[in-house]
């Protein structure tokens, strides 16, 4: 069971997409797991042959539990199928779902049998560390004795455990609210945020799009949001200190840009799936990629890589609404680009005051990784790119 976010403890296996004997290639979808953030398609990170499906459909499994055994080419099957978590060389969970990013996986200890102390979920490890508790002194209540967050909270001496999870049976919206609460609380508790803002003239970009879209049928039209993602992607590729993951006490810049695009879900909640390898996309490809992401986010069909390999988040308030937003960084990322709705304002162009559409860009950044000067460079780069939209 891969970790699909910093605060995921368990997932429910709801669908197998493969059978024993099937050949699988790295990146293939092999299963669907129901999480607090909806159903996620799980991609395999090893190529080989499906030897055995271990996990049962409908089972609620802790992060790190084996789902299946995959044999590499020429590899002999294990003498006996592992009934409980065992060090299986090629099982799907032996490698983090994020291992093909240059940054190491956000939670390298997700496999409970990695030899690093007792089996525990990432959230439990973090919380135990925060509380100064020794994991080996805690009894795990998860399947196979895995220590989950609730076990750590219970182990806190005295009355100080306000964050104990109630584990109720809330609606999907309630569950998503909990997932957001956990991730954002962790972010605000562990990331020293700082913020830089700049109001930017987007009239050239809006005029460019109006002319571009006038000659295009609806399926080929481009939204302003795609220009924002394109500009942020190129700025992130240049200002590398804004793009990557902070894990295990160190920042690891990513060598590609996978912008997480914040998508509001109808009925409440938010997901920010990553647009993979956006640095290599044209504007049109960016637009169609975003349309695909939004469609799948709403239908609950995102992929595990999209949930874990975002390198920076872009949150845009759309066409109408508030003029600025100061966002919370999505761990283990180190920056979030918040973009307010365009507003028509008096603006100085040359020596004249003219009405222009402007947006306020607010960068949330991690002070463990960057300083104001670097964030200012990002903003300046973004502004320059938006002023020449035809080059995006």
């Amino acid at each position: 069971m891969p970790s699909l976010g910093a605060d995921m403890e368990a997932g429910k296996l709801v669908e197998w997409s493969v059978q024993p004997g099937d050949q699988v290639n790295r990146g293939d979808v092999v299963a669907v797991v129901e999480t607090q953030k909806g159903a996620i398609e799980i991609e395999i990170f090893e190529s080989g042959t499906v030897h055995e499906l271990i996990a049962e459909l409908g089972a609620e499994l802790p992060v790190g539990a084996p789902l299946a055994v995959i044999l590499a080419e020429g590899e002999a099957p294990p003498a006996e199928a592992p009934a409980a978590p065992e060090p299986v060389q090629e099982d799907m969970t032996a490698q983090s779902p994020a291992d093909d990013i240059t940054a190491p996986p956000p939670t390298p200890d997700i496999a409970p049998h990695a030899g690093a102390g007792p089996a525990a979920s990432p959230a439990a490890r973090v919380r135990a560390h925060e509380l100064g508790l020794d994991l080996s002194a805690i009894t795990g209540s998860g399947p196979g004795g895995v220590i989950v967050l609730a076990d750590v909270e219970v182990a806190v001496p005295g009355p100080a455990r306000p964050q104990a999870r109630t584990g109720g049976t809330g609606s999907a919206v309630d569950e998503m609210r909990k997932a957001i609460a956990a991730a954002m609380t962790r972010s605000k508790q562990s990331i020293p945020h700082f913020y830089l803002s700049e109001t930017i003239d987007v009239q050239p970009a809006m005029d460019y799009l109006a002319a571009l879209n006038a000659d295009r049928p609806p399926p080929e039209r481009v939204l302003l949001g795609a220009l924002f993602v394109r500009a942020a992607t190129r700025a992130a590729a240049k200002i590398k200190v804004m793009n990557g993951h902070f894990t295990d006490g160190a920042f690891r810049p990513a060598d590609r840009v996978n912008p997480g695009v914040a998508v509001a879900l109808r009925g409440g909640g938010l997901v920010a799936p990553a647009l993979m390898d956006a640095q290599d996309m044209t504007l049109d490809q960016t637009m169609s990629g975003m349309r695909d992401l939004v469609t799948r986010a709403r239908a609950g069909r995102l992929r595990s890589s999209e949930m874990t390999q975002g390198t920076i988040t872009i949150s845009s308030l759309g066409e109408t609404g508030a003029e600025a937003m100061t966002g919370v960084i999505f761990p283990p990322q180190v920056a979030l680009v918040g973009i307010g709705a365009p507003h028509r304002r008096p603006w100085v162009v040359g020596d004249a005051v003219v009405p222009r559409h402007v947006v306020t860009l607010t960068l949330s950044a991690d002070h463990r990784v960057s300083d104001g000067r670097q964030v200012a460079r990002f903003i300046s780069e973004f502004e320059t790119l938006m002023s020449e939209p035809e080059a995006l």
Partner: protein
């Protein structure tokens, strides 16, 4: 004669399945009242384009922003 009102509501609820078509008022705005975002609006325009072959330019988006407006718009543009 095509029931443009029903067709519009059908495409709208395809995009936002949580909306009950029976509760949508004729003058409710798809963005301000029904909370469609710009991607949803584009998807609605695409759906109407596919269904009726009508090419709704961006400048006309305000003219399909409510059930009443859209019904009139489709009647005049699809017929011609």
């Amino acid at each position: 004669m095509t029931d443009f009102r029903a067709a519009y509501l059908e495409e709208l609820t395809n995009i936002a399945p949580d909306i009950d078509p029976d509760t949508v008022g004729d003058d409710e705005h798809i963005q301000d009242d029904l909370e469609l975002d710009s991607m949803d609006v584009l998807n609605l325009v695409m759906a109407l384009h596919k269904r009726f072959g009508v090419d709704i330019p961006e400048a006309d988006y305000p003219r399909i922003a409510t059930v009443a407006l859209a019904t009139r718009y489709l009647e005049s543009h699809v017929a011609s």
